[in-house]
């Protein structure tokens, strides 16, 4: 590994080694050996890879130097010390709610025990608890779904080195869950930036149905580095929502690794609203035949926000469909990067892959980079991709104004119109309503939009 990049001068990684040693001492001695081995592997890979630099293709347009050069500490405070009022703005009725504060499970704020909304056999708990109580349910999957990613993506390796807590969901064969909400709250401590490494694992068994929402929110400066692994078992239907509403001072570098098995319907909806520097990786592996995979995304950025969505869809088997639609609205001096790869493996015939990224620029200083890619090694496939970067259609603005709608409201209505197809695809009502409220608040003359839609 070349270690010449400025971010990887030895001093940059040293605090992580020291923290890893501290971390080891905090862990219970009774932990299963596979977890310890997994962490070691994560640390080794992170040390070997270092923080990525702009010289690496995958990180060409997203500069993580502010993270590499930052000083962060894992929070030592009690996750139960957070008051219920702090979670209220992000809360909604769900069959189960797990709350994590700076990456640590808060039993006090969570309501997963004895909730009638969950059918028997469904496990919704913290990963730390699952590792202690039912390691046999965790071991077949944890770190295995994302193993290639752990080896190649430094932030996934880093998360793996420090994995300890997060959400664990296990849906047995045939079970149908209600809505499960996972809320991750982060904050700086006495002005010092914290770091969290939430690690989530969702296992949806054969013929099951799972709907899960991850919400990320916080205050102040911090670095959030979550990894979610999910498997959609044969014939399962899984809806995964991620709502990223981190603080404007936050760094958020996340990976969602999903594996679909035969005839499953894995669907991912990623909504990115907050954060200062944001990177979302979504890696979908279609590992069986007949999978129908949906990947939707919406990002709304302004000021100096930077959001990077990196998508990778692996069509490993024949007769699978993947439909990807990511839309972005950029204002101010915001920057968005979209990189989408569809990789059709040899033999993955009858693949139906669609990928589209559309960006709406509301200001002259906003920049969107879009890079859809196809790598096709099968000959009987239907693959399309496309990307657009554009401004509001002035004829449409005029059309609305000619009906008496003021200019600002007209622009807001058309911005809404641009985002609406992603909003409408959100099936979980509280998530959709919250997003609508966010838009009404964000868009100038949002009250006219509220009235007109």
């Amino acid at each position: 590994m070349p270690a010449t990049e400025i971010q990887n001068i030895p001093g940059v990684l040293t605090p992580y080694i020291a923290d890893f040693e501290r971390f080891q001492r905090e862990l219970p001695a009774s932990e299963p050996a596979f977890v310890q081995a997994l962490r070691r592997r994560g640390l080794e890979r992170f040390m070997a890879l270092g923080f990525p630099s702009n010289k690496q293709e995958e990180w060409r347009l997203t500069n993580v130097a502010p993270i590499a050069q930052g000083t962060f500490h894992r929070s030592g405070s009690d996750p139960d010390a957070v008051e219920p009022e702090q979670i209220a703005p992000f809360d909604f009725p769900a069959a189960a709610r797990l709350v994590f504060v700076d990456g640590r499970y808060s039993g006090k704020l969570s309501s997963n025990a004895g909730v009638t909304g969950l059918p028997p056999g469904v496990v919704v708990t913290s990963l730390a608890e699952a590792l202690a109580a039912t390691p046999g349910l965790v071991e077949p999957w944890l770190g295995r779904l994302a193993i290639a990613t752990i080896d190649q993506q430094p932030f996934v390796a880093l998360n793996t080195a420090f994995l300890r807590d997060g959400a664990f969901i296990h849906v047995p064969r045939g079970a149908v869950t209600g809505l499960i909400h996972l809320l991750f709250l982060s904050s700086s401590e006495e002005g010092r930036p914290t770091v969290s490494y939430p690690r989530n694992l969702f296992v949806a068994g054969e013929n099951s149905q799972l709907t899960v929402v991850e919400t990320y929110a916080g205050t102040g400066a911090y670095f959030n580095c979550p990894v979610t692994e999910m498997v959609a078992g044969p014939n399962s239907v899984v809806d995964h929502y991620k709502v990223q509403r981190e603080s404007r001072e936050a760094f958020h570098v996340a990976t969602f690794q999903v594996q679909g098995e035969r005839n499953s319907v894995p669907r991912s909806h990623s909504i990115s609203l907050g954060g200062g520097l944001v990177r979302n990786d979504v890696n979908a592996v279609l590992a069986g035949e007949g999978i129908d995979c949906i990947l939707n995304g919406l990002y709304l950025v302004d000021g100096r926000q930077h959001v990077d969505n990196h998508m990778r869809v692996e069509h490993a088997k024949p007769h699978c469909a993947s439909h990807e639609l990511y839309k972005g609205v950029l204002d101010g001096k915001a920057r968005a990067v979209f990189n989408g790869l569809i990789h059709v493996h040899p033999g993955a015939q009858k693949t139906d892959a669609k990928q589209s990224n559309r960006n709406l620029l509301l200001s002259r200083d906003a920049i969107a980079n879009s890079n859809p890619q196809l790598e096709i090694y099968a000959d009987d496939v239907k693959c399309t991709h496309g990307s657009t970067v554009g401004q509001l259609d002035e004829d449409a603005v005029f059309y609305l104004r000619s009906r008496g709608i003021g200019e600002e409201a007209a622009r807001s209505l058309l911005t809404w119109a641009f985002a609406s197809d992603i909003v409408e695809r959100i099936q979980v009502e509280p998530v959709r309503k919250d997003l609508e409220e966010f838009l009404f608040a964000r868009l100038p003359k949002g009250e006219v939009v509220r009235q007109a839609v």
Binding site: G404, I405, A452
Partner: protein, 254 residues
């Protein structure tokens, strides 16, 4: 109602309107006809306030006010309405709720109270009959997936709800079959009144069989070359535009 004096307008540096004079009084229907590229749609868009068109000379008085000084939304609130040749599709914005927002913007400007949902629905149900609008089109996003005829009907429906004083129809007949044309024309005729005026822009005389104008003006190369009564439209139908184009192109003889 409106008084246009020596109006000149350009788009991207090309002069399209080269001195238009036109006065429309309350309750009158004026038709503007002309060949493609003569400036008909430019006239409509300049009056509605599209910013891509630059007014380089002249004056437009609308009920005594300087129309050209007003923003498009101000003109709309003052009662100017243009039915678009190509209505715009707006996904995610409901046709009904959008119209309610537009109507309330207009009412607020006129010092009227905002309409509540029930009053508005009653109004809408009554107006949609004018253009035989199907109820499903109300609940769909504005113009999204509408056929050409449905879009034009929707324009007239918007007009009926907003109750403007000056209605500008920009080639509302283009792309319509005879049945759709009749429906649209019936809608327009139902809205004719002694204090509502119309400027009907069309390439074809056919529309004027259904919306019978008081005056017809022929626009060629940015100028009116002939004005007359409704019989002028029939003359154009018979002879085409070429004789007038030749007339316009002929040098002014000494």
């Amino acid at each position: 109602m409106i008084e246009i004096k020596n109006l000149h307008a350009s788009v991207e540096g090309n002069e399209i309107l080269k001195g238009i004079d036109l006065t429309i009084r309350d309750g009158e229907v004026h038709a503007v006809m002309g060949p493609n590229g003569s400036g008909k749609s430019t006239l409509a868009r300049v009056l509605a306030g599209q910013e891509a068109y630059e007014v380089t000379g002249g004056q437009v008085l609308y009920n005594g006010q300087d129309l050209l000084e007003m923003d498009p939304e101000e003109r709309a609130r003052e009662g100017v309405f243009m039915a678009f040749q190509y209505p715009v599709e707006i996904p995610g914005v409901s046709n009904t709720y959008f119209l309610k927002a537009a109507l309330n913007a207009v009412r607020k400007h006129r010092g009227l109270t905002e309409m509540d949902a029930l009053e508005f629905l009653t109004l809408v149900r009554q107006k949609m009959k004018l253009v035989q609008m199907e109820e499903t089109l109300l609940n769909r996003p504005v113009n999204e997936g509408f056929s050409g005829g449905e879009k034009k009907r929707n324009e007239i429906f918007h007009m009926a709800v907003l109750e403007p004083s000056l209605c500008i129809l920009d080639e509302t007949d283009s792309g319509l079959d005879i049945d759709a044309l009749r429906i649209v024309a019936d809608g327009v005729n139902a809205l004719r009144s002694k204090d509502r005026s119309f400027l009907v822009i069309t390439h074809y005389q056919r529309l004027l069989n259904y919306i019978v104008p008081d005056y017809v003006h022929v626009l060629v190369d940015g100028r009116f070359v002939r004005s007359g009564g409704k019989e002028l439209a029939l003359e154009l139908e018979e002879k085409g535009y070429s004789w007038l184009e030749e007339l316009a192109a002929a040098p002014v003889s000494a």
